[in-house]
Amino acid sequence: MTYASDPAPRASGAGAQRYLDAASSEPLHPAAREVLLAALDQGYADPRRLHHQGRSARLLLDNAREVVASCLGVRTDEVTFTTSGTDAVHRGLLGLLSGRSRHGTGLLHSAVEHSAVLHAGTWSGAELTGLPVDRTGRLSPATVRSALAEAGSSPAAIALQAANHEVGTLQPVTEIADEAGDVPLFMDACASAGCTPLPAGWAVAAASAHKWGGPAGVGVMLVRKGVRWRNPFPGDDRIDERGSGFENVPAALASAAALQAVVAEREETTSRQHRLVARVREQVALTVPDVEVVGDPDDRLPHLVTFSCLYVDGEALVTALDREGFGIASGSACTASTLAPSHVLEAMGVLTHGNVRLSLSRTTTEQEVEDFLATLPRVVRALRAEVGLDT
């Protein structure tokens, strides 16, 4: 679907700027923009107050919650708006561990979880056990089965993402929840919510609105009815006892509007993106020597592809592609704040340097993808020539 406020079709060729990093942040959806502007004027009051303005804000907030619940296939009382996806991950995981403290302190997690999950797990004092993944980045139900059998006592929880944020591989959440039995599963769905329906089987989940075209500063924590979740932070006397702080009503409503639009357009968007990413996977492997295209080729997020080029510095590659008009991300050590390689690529056992993660927004065109494919081999060849390696 196109909107009046969508960017004009972009020029190709020299001087064009193409944004291919939607997995870091999707541009604001036009549906969210309209709602945000309207709600800024109507949703400023304290939604707990009983006066007219307060009731208006409350109505907007309740509406946002209902829309998000319906789009994600959950109950309204299972939705909590948080201040970010990271906040939703922290609250979600820590609250689940806290609610399960009588059952143990162990946390099993895939080795490829987002750092927000790993940081929260470490901070909680839980005993963390990272479970190995295969070359595509997938955790197998059999690995979970043997880890549960080996663990002396039952762990407090299992943390597993819906899809990997760096390589796009979908995780078998439902099968692993089946293996886990009574052990509840925390699912980080920040990379996938909006793109793909939430898989079944989780007890607590987290999502992030700016990944689906909502504004930044809105996360969603989902706690299944009947799951024991205990607030890991100081309580607050807000509408939703699981959250804290004054609700950002306009942003929550705009996030809901974006999600609604994205879900309505999902079939068309994802089939187009899936096809374009398949083309990138195939062409990169054909046109760039010594490249490793990683992640599951089929069972993956529709809009994201990652590959690594031998002998190439990730930062140099990002800079060179930016100069050519392509905004892309890299998970290479050389571009990260630490010098450690991406723990995701490391756990998969794939090349960690010369890494590129390309992700399509809902408006990325075939022409933009073709421009990238036409440029990449030349850029990689030039960088390799600089270090004396023409492969």
Partner: protein, 81 residues
């Protein structure tokens, strides 16, 4: 004698950041005959993943990891083509 001591070529990549150790390996592995062993001493933490990945991508054999007397990891590669 350790495998590293028996290597036909030793590459001292101490202090080099990723991807320099792999670049060094890519440039110089042809200095040993097919069947010969190359030892790469590297303080770069990415080398532990990237040297086996290089072997897989370039059709070479990854032999394993040893530790140099100064505690630095040494990665062993056998040239197979």
């Amino acid at each position: 004698m350790t495998a590293a001591e028996g290597a036909a070529l030793e590459l001292d990549c101490r202090g080099q950041r990723c991807p320099l150790p792999v670049i060094e390996l890519g440039r110089r592995h042809t200095e040993v005959p097919v069947g010969g062993t190359i030892a790469v001493a590297s303080t770069d933490v990415a080398a532990r993943v990237d040297i086996p990945a290089w072997c897989r991508m370039r059709g070479q054999e990854y032999v394993g990891e040893e530790t140099a007397p100064d505690g630095v990891p040494v990665f062993l590669v056998r040239r197979s083509r």
